[in-house]
Amino acid sequence: MKNHTMSVLFASDAENHLNDLTIHRTTASLPFGGRYRLIDFALSNLVNANVTTIGIITRNNYNSLMDHIRMGRDWDLNRKNSGITVFPPFVFNSAHEVYKGKIEALYTLRGFMMDNNEEYVIIANTNIAFNIDFEAVEQFHISKGADITVLTYNTDDTNPRKIIVSKDKNCRITDLRYPVASDAGKQLCNLNIYFIKKDLLISLVDNAYAHGAYDFEKDILQKKLGELYIMSYEVKDYVAVIDRIPTYFKRSMDLLDPAVREELFYKHSTILTKVKDSVPTKYKEGADVHNSIIADGCVIDGTVENSILFRSVKVGKGAVIRNSIIMENSIVMDGAELDYTITDKDVIIQSGRKLSGYESYPMVVVKGKVI
């Protein structure tokens, strides 16, 4: 389709509690699935739908994000017209303060949105691994005559900050609320991805900003439910929302299910990411690998089970890795044992060390540590 839609992505979200994993990076640049960063999924879905004008709003620690995106070439976004733009926090902000909420952030991007000719905007958080068809979202938006389309999904993830959506039979949203103690089982929840006409967005943001409001969900969506046609587009595809360390762990392990792998990596879009020219992975004589996802560049001489190894991980002789996520360039030396552990990038686990967490609370080793 001709690109009449642009996108604004939020690299970080104050609602996420990824603690040790986001000390050095934005949520958008959190490594996921062996070779990706979370933002790869949003970018790939957008590019696949020919949405090629993309602004990314950052809040803090955006160095890793800039390094990942560079000129956007790996997503075919280094274009003469359109392409990718990363906005540091203070770019249009004379107050020299980091924005308080999405409304403030969007207000600072007024110029960027107005300078481009697209008619619609997709606003999205980047803590989501998904593979959806944005063209179908656009068709839904237009055929329903929606003012705002809110993407929703069914989930039983328990997070006190998630927003539960109620809708009528025409998919119009009737209520948005935080969960209460009596909520149980699967609920239709806000995915934090919105499809909206650009002019409407700008006027809503202008008006909210002028009244000192900053929470997009509370001060715009909730308040305008009666006045505007705010519709729910339910995403039926596999969706992984990463907001805390246990969900990061659980959603990562979902990838070991071939059906999830098929949906997430192949369904609508090819998931693109930064090319690193890693060599293929070498399995040595001592390798004993089962039910695991392994990126290129690894050298494996030990046991790996139910785990995810990112690029260029070294597993020594007799080392045992079970139910763990080992990020790029980490080294697990001879005889070390890991169970329910997430090691960030560049971690070294020395010979004979044993680390173990629990499924509900995996142990996290911070970037660059030697244990």
Binding site: G34, R35, L272, D277, K282, A287, V289, H290, N291, I293
Partner: protein, 398 residues
């Protein structure tokens, strides 16, 4: 008209060869485009060597089945060769106002592109071929060329004397590396210094020899047969540049298989080298997946591949599927191939996008053979081998 900045040294890569000895593997693509080492193609080696040696202008001479190669090279971005000045250029034969013809020989291919080379006004030209696997610093060879005040420098390596009659052999002057004589495949070799087909020429010299060679109607327009002997005869300064690193001509099925296996054994051919990366055009594929039933030992495996069966001592390229209860030993599985459930593949090369049907048997376990004499079975690219089929050692289908 077009204004190009001067380059001290540019490379010309001869990539037009058909590679008939690779049989079904080169039925539809030129030899340099043949996959190698799970994620590379043969041409990635000279291209990566060039950029790692600081040469950023490369002309690639294509002729036989060039489409795949042109598409693979694209704008040269994977090798960092998308440049404002210089970069990579694909040079197929073309029509001129007076005449147009195919490249008649290696020297003629360069002759037909004299204008391209003149455009960069280079002092030196490196001539490379697209059928060898090796890591070599051409800059070091160029320094040698300059130190010797040479007109031509030829990279050489020592081969066993009993094999020397298969190569172009250089006889050197006593206590010197200056070349006295060049013999193409001599019956009674007097030296073990074999030419690797890598030359550096001082451009003004080569330019004149190419023009003279073209005017000589008896010439075969070949570097080894015509240009080099003539330069020696006329007393030009030709020197040998000794190279002792890993080098393999992958012109036959056996040698292609051996070179792939060399990645698995020892450190002879080390691809995992941050100081000398080999670049390749990448497909966006998810990481490889070893399922609960998968078993892998002593293998090289790349992205997008799913292993449900057992693989040993093999090169498994990207986007391959190995089915349940399938067994793969000492084989090269090229990109996109599918080994269905229960199939048994040994000492074989399975071409890209080929399918080995359920319970099919391909190849046999071989005892140690002499180099170049391995009886490797080959399934051609895209070939669909039916269920329960049996393919013996040394057979080729496709």
């Amino acid at each position: 008209m077009s204004k190009n900045s001067k380059k001290e040294c540019i490379a010309m890569l001869l990539a037009g060869g058909q590679g008939t000895r690779l049989g079904v593997l080169t039925a539809k693509v030129a030899k340099p485009a043949v996959p190698f080492g799970a994620k590379y193609r043969i041409i990635d080696f000279p291209l990566s060597n060039s950029i790692n040696s600081g040469i950023d202008t490369i002309g690639v001479l294509t002729q036989y089945r060039p489409f795949e190669l042109h598409q693979y090279i694209g704008n040269g971005q994977p090798w960092d060769l998308d440049r404002l000045s210089g970069g990579i250029y694909v040079l197929p034969p073309y029509m001129g106002a007076q005449s147009g013809e195919w490249y008649k020989g290696t020297a003629n291919a360069i002759y037909q592109n004299i204008d391209f080379i003149d455009n960069y006004d280079p002092d030196y030209v490196v001539i490379l071929s697209g059928d060898h696997i090796y890591k070599m610093d051409y800059h070091d060879m160029l320094e040698d060329h300059k130190r010797n005040g040479a007109d031509c420098t030829i990279a050489v390596r020592d081969v066993p004397i009993e094999e020397a009659s298969r190569f172009g052999i250089l006889n050197l002057k006593r206590n010197s590396r200056q070349i006295e004589e060049f013999e193409e495949k001599p019956k009674n070799p007097r030296s073990t210094k074999a030419s690797m087909g890598i030359y550096i020429f001082t451009w003004t010299k080569l330019r004149q020899y190419l023009i003279d060679d073209e005017n000589d109607k008896t010439s075969e327009n070949d570097f080894g047969k015509n240009i080099i002997p003539k330069m020696l005869k006329e007393g030009q300064r030709l020197f040998a540049y000794q190279f002792d690193g890993y080098w393999k001509d992958v012109g036959t099925i056996s040698s292609l298989w051996e070179a792939n296996m060399d990645i698995l054994v020892g450190n002879e051919l080390n691809l995992d080298d941050d100081k000398w990366k080999i670049y390749a055009r990448n497909n966006a594929e998810p990481p490889q997946f070893i399922t609960p039933t998968g078993k892998v030992s002593n293998c090289l495996i790349s992205e997008g591949t799913v292993v449900k069966g057992t693989v040993r001592n093999s090169i498994i390229s990207h986007s391959v599927t190995i089915g349940e209860n399938a067994y793969v030993e000492a084989s090269i599985i090229m990109p996109g191939a599918v080994i269905e459930d229960g199939a048994d593949v040994r000492y074989s090369i399975i071409g890209w996008d080929a399918v080995v049907g359920k319970n099919a048997l391909v190849g046999e376990t071989l005892d140690k053979c002499r180099p170049g004499e391995w009886k490797i079975s080959v399934i051609g690219p895209g070939y669909k081998l039916p269920e329960d089929a049996v393919v013996g050692a040394n057979e080729m289908l496709g």
